[in-house]
């Protein structure tokens, strides 16, 4: 990381320098997590120090081009380009590049954008090293629908930071998609922060389908005020190594956090999917449902904590993980945790790992459906039930496409 410290010094004129420096200090102070309690250390998705260095220092990708019809969205990010649909400005939504954002542009907003430094080691590093990013500012009381598509070169390494500010009483529907073009083994990190005002209601849909050689590191955090609601639908399909971490910070009373996540790991992919709640506000609720499908010689780990602090009285938390292990060389692991620090709460977690139920297969086969299709139908239903709730056609189609293309080799 010595190289990175030097790089940080070159950013002295950056308005966010203080924020970057503090984040880097937090990164240095955070211990490297080890999982000695588990005998299978090698199976966790480990991001090596050299990979982190590549991400922090950044490596430019090969220039690429793509057909305009392939990707859709009213916010298009490709490489360093940012294209915005006119409708956004008309709707009063402010969207601009984070790297061009100066304190004097809007001191109040600047302070809000850089108010959260995160809690995880790599998250600190991304907060210190980001070179590109986006600020989406949705004023109070607005009702908007956004679709953002981010395309990067597969051999590009770097860190991004996106901050979405949802004003009081706003209603936001946000579909956020990440793809790559070309080949390469870039290390791509990103922090996505949502700052929700009082009574803000957000439906956030996330899709990651990058090339199978990329390392993708993502931290999503929701800072939630009183009565705010956050519904999160996430799909992880691409990349070679995926470290996806999502954690709410429910400071406000009666905040409501719901997560419906799906991941598909195939070939040699390794996926570490973490969904947690950190509940401080009274009467706050968190419900997390995650589904995973493992094929090939891939591995999926689901981790999630329900963390109810001393003051979060009358709160509740629920975490539920289910993984379909559909291959004899695959590996599935779940590590749900409950951290309950006050007794006036209700919390639960459940997790299960198994193959497709043979009785369900038998039923479908008795209706004349061949075994491969039967398995795909059941798997499709297993993951589809999560994402269909979002009521977004593109996401539902994607899930069906992924489920149908699964190569299931498990024996019964």
């Amino acid at each position: 990381m010595e190289q990175y410290s030097d790089r940080l010094k070159t950013r002295l004129n950056d308005d966010a320098y203080e924020f970057r420096r503090e984040s880097f200090i937090s990164f240095l102070k955070s211990p490297v997590r080890d999982y000695k309690e588990s005998p299978t250390v090698k199976d966790y998705v480990e991001i090596s120090e050299s990979e982190l260095e590549r991400m922090a220092n950044g490596e430019p990708g090969t220039p690429f081009s793509f057909s305009q019809n392939k990707y859709t969205g009213n916010i298009m990010v490709s490489g360093t380009d940012l294209k915005l649909d006119k409708s956004l400005a008309e709707a009063g939504v402010g969207v601009f590049s984070l790297s061009g954002f100066r304190r004097n542009d809007n001191p109040e907003l600047f302070k809000t954008v850089f108010s959260e430094r995160g809690r995880e080691r790599i998250e600190f590093l991304i907060n210190s090293a980001w070179s590109q990013g986006l600020v989406v500012n949705i004023p109070a009381g607005k009702n908007v629908s956004l679709t953002s598509t981010t395309i990067t070169a597969a051999d590009e390494s770097g860190a991004r930071k996106t901050v979405v500010i949802c004003g009081d009483d706003s209603m936001v529907e946000y579909a956020d998609k990440y793809f790559t073009e070309g080949n390469g083994n870039g290390v791509q990190g990103k922090n996505i922060y949502f700052i929700l005002g009082k009574n803000a209601k957000v439906k956030y849909m996330y899709l990651q389908d990058k090339a199978s050689t990329v390392t993708d590191i993502t931290f999503v955090r929701q800072i939630m005020e009183k009565y705010s609601e956050f519904n999160f639908y996430h799909i992880n399909h691409g990349s070679n190594k995926v470290l996806f971490s999502d954690e709410s910070v429910q400071n406000g009373d009666s905040s409501d956090f719901r997560v419906y996540g799906v991941n598909f790991s195939s070939d040699k992919q390794k996926m570490d999917i973490r969904d947690s709640s950190f509940q401080v506000g009274k009467k706050s609720t968190a419900e997390i449902f995650v589904r995973g499908v493992v094929t090939g010689s891939s591995s999926t780990i689901h981790r999630g904590n329900i963390d109810l602090e001393e003051v979060s009285i009358n709160s509740s938390g629920f975490y539920d993980s289910k993984i379909l292990l559909l291959s004899k060389d695959g590996y599935a692991n779940s590590k749900p945790g409950l951290m309950i620090k006050n007794s006036n709460t209700r919390s639960k977690h459940g997790s299960s790992i198994s193959n497709v139920d043979p009785e369900q297969i038998f039923y479908l086969r008795s209706r004349g459906i061949d075994i491969k299709t039967a398995r795909n139908i059941i798997t499709g239903g297993f993951v589809g039930s999560m994402i269909e709730r979002a009521n977004n056609k593109e996401f539902t189609d994607k899930i069906n496409e992924y489920a149908e293309s699964l190569d299931i080799d498990a024996y019964f």
Partner: protein, 482 residues
């Protein structure tokens, strides 16, 4: 003649029974002013280990094993992933205390003072009533062991491990530290270096013992360590139920209990291990308990973890043969100021194996109950099944509960489920029971004992009664139960 039923008389009788059975903390927190006849003094080094081996007149292989284990112990760092263990004072702990020179098969030969202690704890009485045999250990050495003749005739061996090393060295060598090698963890290495006492139980092929066998451990000294090593071998087709009970007086300086329990359930055998631990609140309780379960064998762990300052205990079963199964039932009670980091491990290594883990915990006042477990299904453990359930009850506002399960599945045909709940006594449940005429105390008491019922009914009756009393006693301070 018709007996007239009188409700008042019945109540009076019940109350009288309750008065008689009331347990007081002093009943087991007393300590004797017995000076050990031999002690290695405080601190641990090579010469202390050699001294222990010397006074036990052990064979050379054991002496070398102890020294190797000491090296491992010194080289391993303290585990930092669990509760705070900084209170363990390695320098000022006494690693070996011998209470007396006698190892007896008759109570009459046991020194009076020690006999009194065990009589107060009710050991001889229990033995007469319902045990097939028992061993009593006081500080570092076993002071009494006895086995009913009928079992002795069938070839059952039950004695303290020191005697077994001398009398059956080959048999002991076959099993000693095979399931729990000294390299396993820091505390297992410590036990390897300074172990003393513990039981050796061998049940030959086809022998099915229908009465339980018991060892009672008593730690008397201040700032001492008890490092017993227990080996239970259930040979092919045999059946055995082994029980352990532990107590210690309360001292100002903390003591350390770091035991090893190894259980070998051979083909078609059934082994059950029950332990009720009620160490006083100055004891760090760090045992390592593990079972090797072979084809068609059945292993059951039943545990009650009530006392101690900090407990870290994860009884594990290695399911090594086809159709092997394990049940693990555990109750832990985290009283005020204590930490219970308990759980279970089941490692599925063969086809059609099954495991079931039920863990219940109660946190009182600022007590902290933690469930930490590992469930692993290796590739090839086809059609294996497992279910893990951990429930926690928080009694006071400041009570805390944490759950950290680790579930690792490498086998696609395996089925695995895990669930956990944390909550407090529901107001709706209370309101319902009160509407049926129960007082609030009676209602909470009923809910707490009902919460523990799954595990309680698996515990032998005498122990269940003792545990019920102990739980009531711990909770009685809050006026909520009992």
């Amino acid at each position: 003649m018709e007996v007239e039923y009188s409700k008042e008389e019945e109540m009076e009788k019940l109350l009288e029974d309750l008065r008689k059975s009331s347990v007081r903390k002093e009943d087991w927190e007393f300590h004797d002013n017995l000076k050990p006849i031999y002690s290695t003094g405080i601190g641990l080094n090579k010469s202390v280990v050699e001294e222990i081996s010397e006074i036990k007149k052990e064979p050379d292989w054991m002496r070398r094993f102890r020294l190797k284990a000491l090296e491992i112990f010194l080289s391993k760092p303290m585990p930092t992933w669990g509760p705070d263990l900084s209170g363990i004072d390695w320098e000022n702990t006494n690693y070996y205390n011998r209470p007396d020179d006698v190892k007896s098969k008759s109570w009459d030969e046991v020194p009076d003072q020690i006999k009194d202690t065990f009589t107060k704890l009710g050991i001889p009485e229990m033995e007469q009533k319902y045990l097939a045999g028992s061993v009593a250990q006081y500080d570092s050495e076993g002071v009494y062991h006895n086995l009913k003749k009928v079992w002795e005739d069938k070839g059952v061996l039950f004695m303290d491990l020191d005697s077994a090393v001398k009398e059956h060295p080959d048999l002991v060598k076959n099993y000693f530290c095979k399931a729990v090698p000294a390299t396993d963890n820091k505390f297992a290495a410590l036990n390897g270096a300074v172990w003393s006492g513990g039981s050796f139980l061998y049940v030959p092929k086809g022998v099915r013992i229908d009465m339980p066998l018991q060892t009672y451990f008593r730690m008397n000294g201040e700032a001492t360590g008890q490092f017993e090593h227990t080996i239970v071998v259930a040979d092919e087709g045999s059946k055995v139920h082994y029980i352990e009970g532990c107590t210690a007086p309360r001292w100002d300086k903390d003591s350390l209990h770091s035991a090893i329990v190894e259980i070998y359930a051979h083909k078609n055998s059934e082994a059950r291990y029950t332990s009720v631990q009620n160490w006083s609140k100055s004891v760090y309780n760090m045992p390592t308990k593990r079972a090797w379960v072979d084809e068609n064998a059945k292993m059951e762990w039943v545990g009650g973890s009530l006392g101690s300052k900090v407990t870290m205990l994860y009884p594990s079963s290695y399911l090594r043969g086809r159709n092997a199964s394990t049940h693990n039932l555990n109750i832990s009670l985290a009283g005020p100021g204590t930490v219970k980091d308990t759980g279970a491990k089941a490692i599925h290594l063969a086809p059609n194996t099954s495991s079931r883990i039920v863990a219940k915990s109660i946190s009182i006042e600022d007590g902290k109950a933690i469930y930490r477990g590992l469930l692993r299904m290796n590739k090839g453990a086809v059609h294996s099944k497992s279910h893990v359930q951990c429930d926690a009850l928080l009694i006071n506002d400041e009570s805390q509960s944490f759950t950290y399960p680790h579930d690792e599945i490498y086998e696609p045909t395996a089925t695995f489920g895990h669930e956990a709940t944390v909550g407090k006594i529901g107001t709706e449940e209370l309101a319902y029971m009160r509407s049926r005429g129960l007082s609030e105390d009676e209602a909470s008491s009923m809910i707490v004992l009902g919460f523990l019922d799954d595990v309680m009914k698996e515990i032998p009756m005498e122990f269940a009664v003792e545990m019920n009393r102990l739980i009531k006693l711990e909770m009685g301070k809050l006026g909520s139960v009992g």
